[in-house]
Symmetry: C2
Subunit: 479 residues, 2 copies
Amino acid sequence: MNQSNEHDLQDHLRIKIDFNHMMSDQMGSQHGITLDEIDDLAETSKEIHSDLKNKREKGELPFLDLPYNREYIAEINEISYTIRKNFDNFVVLGIGGSALGGIAIQGALTNPFHNMLSKKERKGIPRVFFADNIDPDGFQRLLDFLDLKKTAFNVISKSGETAETMAQFLIVRERLIQLFGRDAYKKHIVITTDLKKGWLREIVNQEGFASLIVPQGVGGRFSVLSSVGLLPAAVMGVSIEELLAGAELMDRLCRSESLWENPAYMTAVLKYIACTKKGKAISIVMPYVDALKGVADWYCQIWAESLGKKFSLDNNVINAGQTPVRALGVTDQHSQLQLYIEGPFDKVITFIVVENYEKEVFIPPAYKDLEGVTYLGGHYLNELIKAEKVATELALKKNQRLNLTITLPTLDAFTLGQLFFFFELQTVFSGALYHIDPLNQPGVEQGKQFTYGLMGRKGFEDKKKDAQDSARKNKRYII
Amino acid sequence: MNQSNEHDLQDHLRIKIDFNHMMSDQMGSQHGITLDEIDDLAETSKEIHSDLKNKREKGELPFLDLPYNREYIAEINEISYTIRKNFDNFVVLGIGGSALGGIAIQGALTNPFHNMLSKKERKGIPRVFFADNIDPDGFQRLLDFLDLKKTAFNVISKSGETAETMAQFLIVRERLIQLFGRDAYKKHIVITTDLKKGWLREIVNQEGFASLIVPQGVGGRFSVLSSVGLLPAAVMGVSIEELLAGAELMDRLCRSESLWENPAYMTAVLKYIACTKKGKAISIVMPYVDALKGVADWYCQIWAESLGKKFSLDNNVINAGQTPVRALGVTDQHSQLQLYIEGPFDKVITFIVVENYEKEVFIPPAYKDLEGVTYLGGHYLNELIKAEKVATELALKKNQRLNLTITLPTLDAFTLGQLFFFFELQTVFSGALYHIDPLNQPGVEQGKQFTYGLMGRKGFEDKKKDAQDSARKNKRYII
């Protein structure tokens, strides 16, 4: 399947979007979207399309070109080969965009019990962990669990100064030095960071660690198809080539300026209208696939951080942003669905389903006399989960709750690559609709500076004082 | 610590709520809540208090009495002893309220690597799994992974007709029968269901499985302190007595009709005002504790399903409900915080922190010349995570984003029991403020009936036809 132009011709290999339940002729005029409302954005959409095209040609949207950026593949495969040969455990030290892509790939394409299998059963593939928090109990328990002799760490930070990741690195580094000495410890570490800038690159240069590059202009949340996501993928045994081929197919499917031929644009427009004209301030993403929980979390980052913006491009205060929420079918039918059906009309739900699961699981007939049980027998679990998804969709429809469905023919690296690219392009296009910059995150700066102040970083003394002043509490409000 | 009246005197063992950042004198008058707004609800709150008290005395809120309902403890401990003696794996078959409590307890109070440890390292405690979905790949992979000879299953469904759980049960039962025969297989199964009603009780009576009771009037999402949550807890080695003692302490702390002395009531009132008067339609719960992710998911169910209601008690259409969202500190600072800080003013954030983590993790000094790294050395990871929480809280404050903080002195069974009871009472009290029934879930009925229809259950033929008619799609809306 390496020939991506082959895929192109094979309609049955691509993901499809069904947005019937967004439209007024299906959902009624109070909440549904009309053809006119879509048409009203056709011109704007063409302008955005042309603007994105120009930017892309000028190299300003390099993450969209990652599917074609294959020069690093040999290097990634080589490093991953060395890791798989020498180590039993592979731990990513990274947070946010440095972890979510890898977690999504792991969840989607590897056995959920992989890390519990014996070395033999794992066929030489290391156990893979993502340390994406600094909870002292969580991190220490991970280190206690690992046999460091057999463990490689991939430190990922584009800026090279992410406080959490650098703290983890210092902790791990010291333990490795204690165990293996100042030279030998280095082979336990691979660093993924900017080519030139930042403290981590400085450290690579000083100490000579193996390293990979986060390409310029590829921000954390758009980095899954760079070495950030691809090294962990390769270590897990996932085909990088297939991931990129899938992304490439989606890129080519989304070259049209016509909304009706461009799934990323059309869904961006529909969600934009839903949010700004129909009051749907919340975007639920609800796969009916256990393995796609991580992709839903990845989506929640890209959607929240890209679109949640105070200022428009012309510097008006607009406080834009739709709040993403991850749900899981069928499980959350028993947790969140009551609210989705009966609560405020403030949600749009994106289902993700697969046409064909890998397994077929038969439900054996039994208890002929028990009417409330026996009807299940003779069916497949596959039928039950599909019936429940259809039932949920229809119950939502009957209650005028907007929803759309993304269908993957199967879940594999090729369809996952499509899905990543689809959501990335949808997000960038949405940013233009909201008239905001989807690529920055100015709102988190203040918190970082308070942290630097409180941790005693040089140059942030005034932030420390500000933090201490602001932190004064009225005791009456503590009970 | 079994003497719960001892705890009562020990202020330092109880959880505390800091709601400074909900109040107008801290947050400004546009978003902050005034003392007058709280006072306006004082009378209503007293009425609700008295109403709840009456209902409780009449036995209509039995889940609030679970901390005192200790007659089952001996039986639960006995069954758990047998399971631990005879089996290596313990699998809960259950969904929604039948799983979320157990998952929350497992996450909070057991080693996250427990299931990966060897039998010896586990000290006789089985690996514990929750099968709370019917994804064919997910379920089959679990069954493939387990050695069924060494596996016990706990089938949990109060109604005894939950389609997902019954399907799982039929699949597991057949495999066990194949392996062990029609008699011996029974010792692999414990059933938790209603005392008298439902198909599962019928099955227990026919076949003589070991069984436990979900007490009458205890709905799934309020069942964590019944046998539903307590058997898995006991199997995991968690002290049931401590969980219940914690819940009992919280119950006694919340006996006051005065909002200012009652943390469950006060926070219910604050969140109610935030939602109904300040436009905060979204309730984020964001622990800065890895181990509390599961508690946050449990909270999301109780909050969504209890308060998401179309009709008020006097049958007006109100479409009430605040959408709960789980986030995790510090991780989601790198995913969601940008939106929380700069996006719409539609959120209230509940932080959960622990005063004392179990571990202390030192960050070794290094790289003296690298200013952006060296400041971290010499501190503890514990300081860093606390600094980041304070920094986040202050950044939110500076941007007028409402938030409150629940502090646990430590995370153990006693504080977890407090937390469960706190959220349950907060939810029931909130239901009364919204003037809805927090104990039913009529909105999910329609979807269930469509599923029955599609799966060919007798009596639901018309639902099948309705589903098939409604499912017709316009091909133009599929791209």
